[in-house]
């Protein structure tokens, strides 16, 4: 019995490691590196053991060579600010794990992540290979910790459990935003003080810090950013003040009014996460919402990240279309691509997001311009392994478009 088990496991390991050791060369591609190298024409990219091992090598001995003539290779897109893996059906309570009334700074939802969610293969249809999943929290302004997962759909696909602390600032349905700022500042000051006191009492035995204390320390040490959900220009200036006071890393999420304070944002080196299609004044905080926001911020020198507004979990595959809309409203094509790749990786400290030697091999081969609607994914790789874009949606389509004399239920 035991022997049998072991051999099964060994067999599985052998299969996966041999697949891993395979050298794949993608040749003749138009490679959008999202690095200073820019776009490389007729280029070769080699992947092995989950990494990009060479770009345009003098010679290559590959197990698999893919002729990507007239095709475009980009880094895998990185979705963000959604609940991917924490929700299956929005209105089904037992399939939702992104919120809890008691959520706070230490709300770590990575333990609730479901890599088998049907949303994950669907997201791959849009060339999305990694995602920053965020909780929506509960009663507190502190919604909890964002985590990063790859979209291989495998168990163990979380790559960073604590990548940012999400804080809801700005307009409130109940109470004043003034108190939100005070709560944030109090928490940071409190932790600063307790760290200073700890330094003073070196003789005292160290108590293991709570997760909340660890998170606050990481933020104060510049090791973890806070992502602040706010839109009004005055709120952006307020968070810039807080950033300067504590010398912490801040990412603004929303920023419909950001055009008004673009120079201050650039100066404070604050990345801004925007929805490219948010152009309506949904409240008095967003009177400057515009399709041009992403392009205007880019030109001002702000690092822009594009994410899907609304139900970003089920719709993250649409990122590439949003990027196209940003481009037709003033953003550079290269900038829009970075806003889906390198800028997300930089801001959240994620491996990936560029095509460079040594980089994680999350790659997408597109039939043409990745933002254009007529384009589709030809092939994609996550951590060097080729992954499929098929999902249960394709099975449903095939069932109802395939002729059969038997009821549909027999078409599988």
């Amino acid at each position: 019995m035991t022997k049998f088990k072991v051999s099964l496991i060994t067999g599985a390991l052998l299969v996966s490691s041999s697949a891993f050791a395979q050298v794949t060369a993608i040749t003749n591609a138009t490679v959008h590196t999202s690095t200073e190298q820019g776009i490389l024409k007729d280029a070769t990219v080699v992947i092995e053991n989950g990494k990009i091992t060479a770009i345009n090598p003098a010679s290559v001995a590959a197990d698999v060579t893919i002729d990507a003539k007239d095709q475009v290779l980009t880094a895998g897109f990185i979705g963000s600010m959604n609940q991917l893996g924490l929700v299956e059906v929005g209105a089904v309570s037992r399939s939702r794990d992104a919120g809890d009334d008691k959520a706070g700074i230490d709300f770590d939802t990575s333990s609730a992540f479901n890599p088998r969610s049907s949303l994950i293969p669907y997201a791959r249809k849009g060339g999305v290979t990694q995602n920053v999943t965020v909780p929506h929290g509960g009663d507190s302004i502190f919604a909890g910790l964002a985590f990063v997962a790859d979209l291989s759909g495998k168990f163990g696909s979380i790559t960073d459990k604590h990548s940012a602390l999400v804080v809801h600032l700005g307009a409130k349905s109940d109470g004043s935003r003034a108190l939100s700022y005070k709560q944030l500042v109090d928490k940071l000051e409190g932790q600063q003080q307790s760290l200073a006191e700890k330094d003073d009492k070196k003789d005292k035995k160290d108590k293991k810090p709570s997760l909340e204390e660890q998170v606050l320390t990481q933020i104060l040490d510049g090791e973890m950013p806070i992502v602040t959900h706010l839109t009004r220009a005055s709120d952006i200036l307020e968070i810039i003040k807080i950033k300067k006071q504590f010398d912490i890393n801040v990412i603004v999420w929303g920023g419909e009014d950001a055009q008004l304070v673009k120079a201050q944002l650039a100066d404070a080196q604050i990345p801004v996460i925007v929805s490219a299609v948010s152009n309506l004044p949904s409240d008095f905080d967003s009177l400057h919402a515009s399709l041009e926001t992403a392009g205007v911020l880019e030109k001002a020198g702000v690092k822009v990240i594009l994410s899907i507004g609304g139900d970003g979990s089920h719709n993250v595959y649409q990122l590439r279309f949003d990027a196209g809309i940003a481009v037709s409203n003033g953003m550079s094509h290269e900038g829009a691509l970075k806003a889906l790749t390198a800028n997300v990786a930089d801001s959240f400290g994620i491996e990936g997001g560029t095509i460079a030697k040594g980089q994680r091999a999350d790659l997408v081969l597109w039939s043409a311009d990745p933002f254009e609607i007529s384009t589709h994914v030809q092939k994609m790789w996550i951590n060097g392994e080729e992954v499929s874009t098929k999902s249960r949606h394709d099975k449903l389509r095939d069932r109802y478009t395939t002729d059969s004399k038997l009821p549909r239920a027999y078409t599988k």
Binding site: G90, A91, V92, S282, F284, S328, R397, Y400
Partner: protein
Amino acid sequence: MQKFAPSVLVLALGAALAGCQDQGPQKDHVKINKNPYPSTYTVFENSSTLITNATVLTGTGERLEQADVFILDGKIAQVGKDLNVNADNTIDAQSKWVTPGIIDVHSHLGAYPSPSVESHQDGNEMTSPNTAEVWVEHSVWPQDPGFNRAREGGITTLQILPGSANLFGGRAVTLKNVPAHTMQAMKFPNAPYGLKMACGENPKRVYGSNKIAPQTRMGNMAGYRQAWIEASEYKSAWEQYDAEHAAGLNPDAPKRDIKYDTLRGVLDGEVMIHNHCYKAEEMAMMIDLAKEFNYHAGTFHHGIEAYKIADLLAENGNCAALWPDWWGFKMEAYDMVLENVAIVDAVKNSCAVVHSDSDTTIQRLNHEASKIMHTANQNGFALKEQDAIKWITYNAAKSLGVEKETGSLSQGKQADVVIWDKNPFSVYSKAETVYVDGAKVYDRNDEKYQAVSDFMLGQR
């Protein structure tokens, strides 16, 4: 006298009719005004326009290259190559595309406007499962900045619907997407009214959770059937009253009920059903329900599972107004396929429509249609731009009952026209100029034709 089945309503009506044999001079005939809030829309100032050398999608399945469109007196006068006409304005549309004005059959603009603050939640009277008595036009705020954004995306006609919490949500209204400061000034002249119905999860959740019927899908069906029985009785009562009055008798008019006025409008074929209904088995039952009470089941909106019953929809003449890719927000939206519209469209006599139900995607219905076309073509379909444009023009007009007036570039139709800077099925395309009834209502390159709502004035 009492020839219809007794019910509370009928007893009340019966009492009202009891005096029909009264002697004496005949009382005035009570007539119901079916159009008490009439359109005051007037065509904006316009002159004849010739658009030349464009790629023209007619909305009726044709694509013409290097073609001209001639607009005269607010109508499409001619479409063809090298038209030899004199126009006040000639626009060289070389490398540009021309389509009919885009039509969205499912919008809540004005009723759920921006800013979406507490005071603006006017889209759904969630106080009873049957609120057929409300008319969404009475909620429309014409200053919603969303109307302007939609126009910039080529929307020239749109239907505003009440929300979907109720089995019967109330009357829908079709608007011309022109800037105005009264609702009546946007109202599409002579467009039929719609009646919003809703299947499935929403009604049973909203009411059932408060222990009010319906609490189940069978409760939903019972609620519709009961209402149609009452509406049929109401219709009979009025018809009998009219007949007796015409025969020189002196009947008392039945008691007026605006809820049943609307339902009767459906039974009389004057009001079109627009039914929020996601699932295959529910749409199939709604088709039978309509047969049971002798009306037409109309257009199914959000039919996530329409692809499962594409044949049934076409056989029964039902349009299906669908999203390209929304899904998963509730169970009835779980079985989405990206090719839904294309599968529905592939059946003979079908009526596939792409709708938005969104103040955002209404701005890009061309892209929504494009997503479907390209995904479907990846999976065995061979759709072209001239086919897909129908989903957001001619078929949408048919769903609203205004296909004789708008929805295609056919001679004599209202000149609702969009000039696109490039192929509108490209993600980079934008509407450049928009005409409603031949009048320019938007020009991307001329600020003079870029409307600003009162709400946004002085805010930036």
